[in-house]
Amino acid sequence: MSAPQAPSLVRRAAAAAAVLAALLVVPVVASTYQTQLLTYGLTLAIAALGFNLLLGYSGLLSFGHCAFFGAGAYAVALMMRYLGVTSMELFILGGIAFSAVLAALFGVVCVRHTRIFFAILTLALSQVLWTLAYKFFWITGGTDGLRVPFSKLTLLGGLVGFPGADAFAKFITSYYYYVLAAFCVCVALMWLIVHSPFGKTLQAIRDNETRARFLGVRIWRYRWLAFLVSGIFTGVAGSLWVPLNGLTTPDVLYWPQSGKIVFFAVLGGFRNFTGPIVGAVIFNYLEVYAVAVTEYWQITLGGILIALVTFLPSGVVGSAARLSARLKRRREALP
């Protein structure tokens, strides 16, 4: 089974530039609410990007990624509450540090195992974190959580702050561009990583572990590194998400959140680079409108996941790519 030929680099770069141009004008043309919504979508896209390094490129399915998202979020909240930090840059660094330590530890336990145990262990370890978050309530605020009000936040090393009356609208606009910049950096970095010798090695391990081992590759080391990088990206997403949400509670560590992240990748298609990004953004809007319609959206989510896995395993982007390739072949076959 061969995948459709990837479109040329020039065409892809042009498409990316077009998308970026569109993204740049959003706060100008759209309402504050819509801008805020898209900002959420971008943070989820970063989380999905991190997650897919494991699923799409390493063949490892993690059901515990909410642990890293939550770690990034709580790092920010704890730093603001107990260390009085207000700089977003420092928050991001804190999020990276916390999720890196967590990923390193979890990784040691999880990556030595077969894929089934890997999935089980990631789910379980993330839930261990969840119980710690609500049981140690005197530190984490328990079920009430910790607040992260944007009024205390500063961007770009203190240059941009949000005091005063019209603060919220100003915050949304500035924060949107901030997250967009972070998103671009993350996309560029991840693209580089998956096209590097390291990335190719991960894919080789995914395709044929035996053969990779017979090239002298120490399998679990690469998986651990992938786990670490993946956790950091998702942690950054969590750190960027929490000022937008204004609050973090143990819910962010509860297992259905991991399910959402999995869903982004499956919806968009996890066998290509942009699939999870698209999946995250689509889901973001789906969720808002679905929650408005029914309070049992988790059933819907689960049902759609089952349907996707059964009937559309290459996801939206993957299926679109296949369709366009098939149409192209048909056009070329015509006299």
Binding site: M1, S2, A3, L192, I193, H195, S196, P197, F198, G199, K200, T201, Q203, A204, R206, D207, N208, T210, R211, A212, R213, F214, L215, G216, V217, R218, Y222, L225, V229
Partner: protein, 251 residues
């Protein structure tokens, strides 16, 4: 000093002695065939030497170095590589990437995370040349999963060869391939391997292939070596004829 030497190498599977006290010597530059009926122990022997299995007793030496319990990556660094009977490729990577990966691994560049793989012209060039030698240059950009069976076999050998081993084990490189392709594959493999000065041990069932391409033939039966010598000698060997070919040579 021989390139490979095993000393009373043994492996049991329950009651069966798959490899029974084998003393195997391979000298540099040889192109030898390892033959025997199914279950004679050929693949097990190769598995033991290439670290796919651990021996129950005995020792293995590469250029005098004891590698009996060395892990896979150490044995590769010592100069051993192998191809597989059931083709083992990275199906979702391109043909070029399959070989390039072996070169990256050999050069210790696989941990490079902030560099584009394609940009490494040294590696890409070597991979392209290698594919050319194996007649696969035209398919370089396609996915490995899309190759025909004969081509897959060649790629499997090419990937192992890309490690620039001193000793290359080829496990049935022509199995599952049509008769017409067999000759082509063996021509390619033998010319590349000999041209590279690499020592090769080929597990093979097709006796025509064996007699045509090998310098030396080793016959295994029930875990032990039955005969060992140049092809003409083996052809005349009575025991070999009986056990291997199932015929009475006088008849």
């Amino acid at each position: 000093m021989s390139l490979l030497r095993t000393e009373r190498l043994t492996k049991h599977f329950g009651e069966t002695r798959a490899v029974d006290g084998v003393d195997f010597i391979v000298n540099e530059g040889e192109f030898l065939s390892l033959v025997g009926t199914n279950g004679a122990g050929k693949t097990t022997l190769v598995n033991l030497i290439s670290a796919f299995l651990a021996p129950d007793s005995g020792r293995i030496f590469i250029a005098g170095r004891d590698i009996t319990y060395a892990p896979v990556d150490e044995r590769i660094r010592a100069g051993i590589a192998r191809s597989f009977q059931l083709v083992n490729l990275f199906d979702d990577l391109s043909v070029l990437d399959n070989v390039a990966l072996a070169i990256f691994a050999r050069e210790g560049k696989t941990k490079r995370i902030f560099a584009l793989a394609e940009r490494d012209t040294v590696v890409t060039q070597e991979a392209t040349e290698l594919l050319g030698q194996f007649g696969l240059a035209g398919k370089a950009q396609g996915l490995a999963g899309g190759l025909a069976q004969g081509e897959r076999k060649l790629l499997d050998v090419a990937v192992a060869y890309a490690l620039r081993p001193k000793l290359l084990f080829l496990d049935e490189p022509t199995s599952g391939v049509s008769t017409r392709d067999k000759a082509q594959i063996m021509d390619t493999v033998s010319s590349v391997v000999r041209g590279g000065g690499i020592t090769a041990v080929v597990i093979e069932h097709d006796m025509d292939v064996v007699f045509k391409y090998s310098d030396r033939v080793v016959v295994m039966h029930e875990g032990r070596f039955l005969a060992d010598g140049p092809p003409e000698e083996i052809r005349r060997n009575r025991d070999v004829a009986t056990y291997l070919l199932g015929t009475d040579i006088d008849a």
